[in-house]
Symmetry: C2
Subunit: 237 residues, 2 copies
DNA sequence: TTCGACCATAGAACGAGGTTCGATAATTGC
DNA sequence: GCAATTATCGAACCTCGTTCTATGGTCGAA
């Protein structure tokens, strides 16, 4: 029953001692795999091949696949964080919140695999927590109770995650291969919906025409603005 | 290149001809496994063992694991649908929307494994689409454009999914074994958060006290009411 | 009654994936 | 220089989803 072996990530790496693979290289390759072919493409063997090493080596930098995914997410969230930080500073804190939420959403559009796990662990440290903090700082400028602030940030994150969750799971295998584009994919929805019984599905019939040329981002923005309108009302601004 | 073999699910079962296992039995056992130990517990072998059959038999009723999960989800969503239908009919459509959203959320609290896949496929038929329709029918009573209606429903579903997503993934393996209860689990959060630098994390410090005794449902309700307030504003009601 | 056609079941076998383990080189500290 | 630590590698193991083939069982037709 020995304790876990020491890993480079566990201690401050004092000077690089000619490591052919750093944790950054591992994470970068992992993100590349995810970007290229989605989450199922991230296997330890594929990662090892891409890095030109053996599977076992990866376990030196990472405790397992879950840890690998967590770190890869945190890795890209670092970029998102700096992107977010560069766009704050408006007069209106709610406008700032909006911009930040949109930035988050755009990041998930670029990397759909983020959607499923985005903001999974707002727990200990990491860029996930830092993003949470950055959002929350805007609420400090609003006339709210701490609890209201907390709920406001949770709600905004909820809207982002809830809408982004739609994105990260649909493409059966079309978008990657380009056999079918997204418009045609959505077209099948509208056809099916139009064929439904009008008596039993009045709502679907009411909206089915809008669904043609449907835009995920527009849908997200509408939901976000609904929530922000409620927040603005609550803050009495 | 032969077509798919006929399956009982593909045709109306005309009278039961002494089938020891029905599709309902398979789905029921699958849901039981999911309820007992979460998604990783649902393996075809475990399911076969529980049913007292072989793995191959399951493929008679289901085309694969994805199909199994989809049907299991649709199975429980059937119950959710009737629960939702029993609670509508108030004067205020937005109040009805609220009640329905809460019912959905409660269903996910009861079955955290639903969270990750909830409303995954609002596509063709199924109870998922029916729930979508039921929510939408309330918006027909509001003075909105079809597009606004669509966005409103999407936003509400987004809030439910976004907040429920938090639920379905936390318990590393504590809640199932009962080694650690949820309160103590959350207590670790507050400790870690309190230890953060106050200069760098002013927001987290502002809200950390509220996080003790934190209630997921309360958090969800606050976010939902924010969105509904925005909707009420938009509908001019 | 007998014989096929179809329903339904069962489990061995395959391939892919995550993880473990021991061997081994490379580097560092003394 | 020598031992301890650092880092690497891939074979082997186990689990899981899936496929395939074999085998009863039921029922209608000859």
């Amino acid at each position: 029953m020995t304790g876990p072996r020491p890993r480079p990530a566990d201690r401050p790496s004092r000077g690089r001692q000619r490591a052919s693979h750093s944790i950054e290289a591992v994470l970068g390759a992992a993100v590349a795999l995810l970007d290229e072919a989605g989450e199922p493409a991230l296997t330890l063997r594929a990662l090892a091949t891409r890095l030109g090493t053996g599977v076992g080596s990866i376990y030196w930098y990472v405790s397992g696949k879950d840890d690998l995914l967590d770190r890869a997410i945190d890795h890209v969230l670092g970029g998102v964080l700096t992107a977010v930080e560069g766009r704050t500073g408006s007069d209106d804190p709610i406008d700032d919140l909006r911009v930040m939420a949109v930035t988050l959403f755009d990041a998930i559009v670029d990397r759909p695999w983020l959607g499923a796990h985005f903001m999974r662990r707002t727990d200990v440290q990491g860029n996930s927590l830092r993003l949470f903090e950055k959002l929350g700082q805007q609420t400090l400028r609003l006339d709210l109770t701490p609890l209201q602030r907390f709920h406001a940030v949770s709600a905004i994150v909820g809207v982002v995650v809830g809408n982004a969750a739609d994105l990260g799971q649909e493409p059966p295998q079309e978008v990657f291969d380009g056999f079918v584009d997204r418009d045609e994919f959505l077209g099948r929805y509208t056809e099916t919906w139009r064929a439904l019984d009008a008596e039993e599905f009045p709502f679907v019939h009411d909206i089915v025409e809008e669904f043609d040329g449907h835009d995920d981002k527009e849908q997200f923005l509408a939901g976000l603005d609904l929530t922000l309108a409620g927040l603005r009302l609550q803050a009495g601004a």
